[in-house]
C-alpha cells in the first residue's frame, strides 16, 4: 500500500504537477503535525477556488482590468508556489505575462488552461491523500529521483 502511495507521488513529481516545494512541506510533517501537508493542500484549494472565481468574474465582466487581474494572479501564484503546484504556477506566470502586455485573448486562454491544471492537481492530490491515509503513517518524504 505504501509503495502504491509512493508511486503515485512519484508520478506527480515526474509529470511536473508537483515540485521541490512539496517535498519541503512533507518534511515539515511530523508527529506534531501528522496531516500537515493535507491541511495545507486543503487550505490552498479553498483559497485558490475563491481566487479563481474572482478572476472568472473579472474576466466575464469583459472590462479586463489588467492590473486587478495581475494582482489576483500574483496571489494565486504565491500560494501555488508555496505548495509546490508547479504546473499551476507556470500557467500563472503566463497569465501575468499576458496581463502585462494587455493581451486579453491570451489571458482568457491561459486562464482556461490554468483552471484545468488546477482541477487536475486537486483531483490527483485528493486521491493521493486518501490513499496515504489508508496506507497509514507515511515514511519520511524522500526526494523524488
Amino acid at each position: 500500500m505504501q509503495r502504491q502511495v509512493a508511486l503515485i507521488k512519484q508520478s506527480l513529481f515526474d509529470q511536473g504537477y508537483l515540485d521541490e516545494q512539496f517535498v519541503e512541506l512533507e518534511e515539515l510533517q511530523d508527529d506534531a503535525n501528522p496531516n500537515f501537508v493535507e491541511e495545507v493542500a486543503t487550505l490552498y484549494f479553498k483559497d485558490s477556488a475563491r481566487l479563481i472565481s474572482n478572476i472568472e468574474q473579472a474576466l466575464e465582466r469583459g472590462s479586463f482590468d489588467f492590473n486587478r487581474l495581475d494582482n489576483y494572479m500574483h496571489q494565486f501564484k504565491g500560494s501555488s508556489t508555496s505548495i509546490g503546484a508547479s504546473k499551476v504556477k507556470t500557467e500563472c506566470t503566463m497569465f501575468r505575462e499576458y496581463c502585462r502586455v494587455g493581451n486579453a485573448e491570451g489571458c482568457l486562454r491561459t486562464f482556461k488552461q490554468l483552471k484545468k491544471e488546477h482541477a487536475t492537481l486537486r483531483k490527483k492530490l485528493e486521491q493521493y491523500f486518501q490513499l496515504a491515509r489508508q496506507a497509514g503513517p507515511k515514511e519520511t518524504a524522500r526526494r523524488p529521483k
Partner: protein, 577 residues
C-alpha cells in the same frame, strides 16, 4: 529535522523560543510559514490581517521579538506596516514576498526592513532570522561604541550562539555580554525599549529644530532634551529613523521640517493607512506650500498638524491663508477620507472634506489612550510612545484636508475652531484617557474661535468640511494635538505638534489654531498663530473639552455646516465648554 533541533538547542536557548509574529493574508502561505517557524523552534503567532498585527504589537511591545510580514496585503500595504512597526516598536521586521523585483527589495530596505525573503520560504533562511533580533539589540545597547560595529559580528549567519557571543564579548565589556548572552528570553537581552512618547518626541523634535536638522547630532540632541535615562544611542537610532522618515515623505521637499514630525509620529503610532502619505511639510512653509507640493499623499495628520503647531508652522499656516495653502488642503481631502474611516465618532462626512468621515481620530485616540497608558505619558498628549494612536495624526490630516473644500474663506477661523471642537469632542469621546480638559479646552476652544474668526487666512478651512460636525470631530483632535504639545495634556495634539514642531522648528503652540480646525483648521492655525500661543496653554486639558464641545457643537450645529459654521460652532463650543 532532528539535526535542526539539536542545533537550535545548542544555542543557549536563544534563538529557541524567539517570539515571532507572522503576517500574511494568504492562508496557505501563513500556515506553511507557521509550520516552518515552529520547526525552527520559535514561538509563533500568526495573523492574516495587518491591522490585527498592529494591534497585537501595540498591545504589548515586548511580546514579540521579530515580525515577518508579507508585502501584498489587502488591508494594509506591507511596507506601511513595516514602517509603523519600525517606528513605533522598533522591532526587526522581515519582508516576505513572491516578488523578486529589485524595486521591491529596495523599497523594503528603505522602509527599514531587516531582511527581504522570497516566497516560497525555505527553512534554511528562517533558521537565521534570529540574527536580526540580536543585531537590533546590540545596536541599541551599545551606545558608546560605534553603532553597527558590534552588530557586524553577530550578523553573520552563524547559528552558533557561542561564537556570536564570543564576538560580542570582544566588542562589549564582559558584563554586558554575559547579560545578553545568557538570557533564554531574547527580549530580556535588550535594554528596555525606549518608548518614544509624544512628549519625548516633541522634545526630540524641538532639540533637532534648535540645532538645525542638518547639524543635529545625537549627543547634542540628548543634551538639549535633558531626559533622564535616555541614552545617546536611543536618540541616535530615533534620529536615524526620523531622517529616513523625512526623506521618504518629503522627497525633495524639506523633509526636515515640521511635517515630518506628525507624520513621523503618526507613522510610529501606526496610523494605519494614514501614514503613508508623506506630509510635505516644509519647514515653516506652511502646509500650504508644502502641502501643495507634497501634501498630496498627506501623511498622517500628524505631519500637518505638526506643522501647524510649531511656530514656524504657524507661520506656515499663514501661508495657508494664501491660496496656495488651500491647494494644500484640498489635496488632503483625499487623505482625509482615509483617515476618516476610523472615526468612531459619529462624524458625518464632511462635505467635500471627507475629513470627518469616519474620523480615524476617535479610534486612534483610543489607541492613543491605550498607548498612553502604556507609555507612561500620563495625561500627556498622546503618548507618543506608541504613536499608534495615529489619531492625532489622522486628525491632523483630516483637518487639513477636510477643509479644502470648506466654504471658501468664509470663516476660516470658525471652521477651524469648529473642527477643533468637534475634534476635541471626538477626541475626548474616544479617548477616555485624555486628560480632563476642563478649563483648558474651553480656553482653547475659545481661543480658537477667536483666532479662527480673525484669521481667515485659511481659505480652505472654509471648505465644506469645517462645517460638518463630523469635521469637528476630527478637528478637535487635531486641535488638541497641536495644543497639547505645549500642554502635554492632550495626547492628540501632541502628535501633531511634534510633526509640526519638527518642521517648523518652532513651537507647537501657535499652530494649534490651525490644528484645531482639524483639517481646515490647521490651515487656519497658521494664520492664527498668535492665537495659538494662547491656545497652547489652554489646550492641555482643553482637548477634552474641545472634543466635548465639538461634540455638542455637532449636535447643535446643523446650521453650522455652512461656511459660517465656524462661528456657530464656536459659540456652541464655548457654551459647551
Amino acid at each position: 529535522m532532528t539535526v535542526e533541533r539539536q542545533d537550535c538547542v545548542a544555542l543557549d536557548q536563544f534563538p529557541v523560543g524567539m517570539r515571532v509574529l507572522a503576517v500574511d493574508d494568504d492562508q496557505t502561505c501563513l500556515r506553511i510559514l507557521e509550520s516552518l517557524l515552529h520547526r525552527c523552534q520559535y514561538h509563533v503567532t500568526t495573523t492574516n490581517q495587518a491591522q490585527k498585527a498592529l494591534e497585537l504589537l501595540r498591545e504589548n511591545k515586548n511580546k514579540f521579538d521579530l515580525v515577518i510580514s508579507d508585502v501584498d496585503m489587502p488591508d494594509m500595504d506591507g511596507f506601511k506596516l513595516l514602517e509603523l512597526v519600525g517606528l513605533e516598536m522598533d522591532l526587526p521586521v522581515i519582508m516576505l514576498s513572491a516578488h523578486s523585483d529589485p524595486k521591491y527589495v529596495m523599497k523594503g530596505v528603505t522602509h527599514g526592513a531587516c531582511d527581504y525573503l522570497l516566497k516560497p520560504v525555505r527553512i534554511e533562511e528562517l533558521k537565521n532570522i534570529w540574527q536580526h533580533v540580536v543585531r537590533k539589540n546590540r545596536g541599541s545597547n551599545n551606545g558608546d561604541k560605534k553603532d553597527g560595529s558590534g552588530n557586524e559580528g553577530v550578523a553573520n549567519s552563524d547559528q552558533n550562539n557561542g561564537r556570536a557571543n564570543r564576538k560580542r564579548k570582544d566588542q562589549y565589556n564582559e558584563d554586558e555580554d554575559e547579560e545578553r548572552d545568557d538570557n533564554d528570553d531574547p527580549s530580556s537581552q535588550k535594554k528596555p525599549r525606549v518608548v518614544w512618547t509624544v512628549e519625548l518626541h516633541k522634545k526630540f523634535v524641538a532639540a533637532v529644530n534648535q540645532l538645525g536638522f542638518e547639524k543635529a547630532m545625537p549627543k547634542k540632541i540628548l543634551d538639549l532634551m535633558n531626559v533622564e535615562k535616555l541614552t545617546r544611542e536611543n536618540v541616535a537610532s530615533h534620529l536615524q529613523k526620523f531622517r529616513l522618515y523625512l526623506k521618504r515623505i518629503s522627497g525633495n521637499q524639506q523633509a526636515i521640517m515640521a511635517n515630518s514630525d506628525l507624520h513621523f509620529l503618526q507613522m510610529s503610532n501606526g496610523l494605519d493607512g494614514f501614514h503613508h502619505r508623506p506630509i510635505p511639510v516644509g519647514s515653516g512653509q506652511f502646509h500650504g506650500g508644502a502641502a501643495a507640493a507634497g501634501m498630496r499623499p498627506f501623511p498622517p495628520n500628524n505631519g500637518i498638524l505638526g506643522r501647524l503647531n510649531t511656530p514656524s508652522g504657524i507661520g506656515g499656516v499663514r501661508n495657508l491663508s494664501s491660496p496656495p495653502s488651500s491647494g494644500m488642503f484640498l489635496q488632503n481631502p483625499t487623505d482625509l477620507g482615509k483617515f476618516h474611516h476610523v472615526s468612531s465618532l459619529p462624524l458625518n462626512h464632511i462635505d467635500g472634506g471627507n475629513i470627518l468621515q469616519g474620523l480615524p481620530i476617535p479610534l486612534e485616540f483610543d489607541q492613543l489612550q491605550t498607548n498612553n497608558n502604556k507609555s507612561i505619558i500620563a495625561g500627556n498628549s498622546m503618548a507618543f510612545p506608541s504613536f499608534p494612536t495615529s489619531l492625532p495624526n489622522n486628525n491632523n490630516h483630516l483637518v487639513l484636508e477636510g477643509h479644502p473644500q470648506a466654504s471658501p474663506s468664509a470663516f476660516p477661523g470658525h471652521q477651524i475652531n469648529k473642527r477643533l471642537e468637534h475634534w476635541s469632542n471626538a477626541v475626548s469621546s474616544s479617548s477616555s484617557t485624555l486628560p480632563p480638559p476642563g478649563q483648558n479646552s474651553n480656553s482653547l476652544i475659545s481661543h480658537q474661535f477667536d483666532a479662527s474668526s480673525s484669521n481667515y487666512s485659511i481659505p480652505f478651512c472654509d471648505s465644506t468640511i469645517p462645517l460638518n460636525p463630523a469635521l469637528d470631530h476630527t478637528n478637535p483632535r487635531a486641535f488638541y494635538r497641536a495644543t497639547d504639545l505645549d500642554s502635554n495634556a492632550n495626547v492628540q495634539p501632541g502628535v501633531y505638534y511634534d510633526s509640526l514642531q519638527m518642521r517648523q522648528s518652532g513651537n507647537y503652540g501657535p499652530t494649534t489654531d490651525a490644528m484645531l480646525s482639524s483639517n481646515p483648521k490647521e490651515g487656519f492655525t497658521v494664520g492664527q498663530q498668535k492665537l495659538q500661543s494662547g491656545f497652547m496653554g489652554g489646550e492641555a486639558g482643553s482637548l477634552d473639552d474641545i472634543v466635548n464641545s465639538t461634540m455638542k457643537q455637532e449636535q447643535s450645529q446643523g446650521d453650522l455646516s455652512e461656511g459660517d459654521l465656524g462661528y456657530g460652532g464656536f459659540s456652541s463650543l464655548r457654551t459647551c465648554i
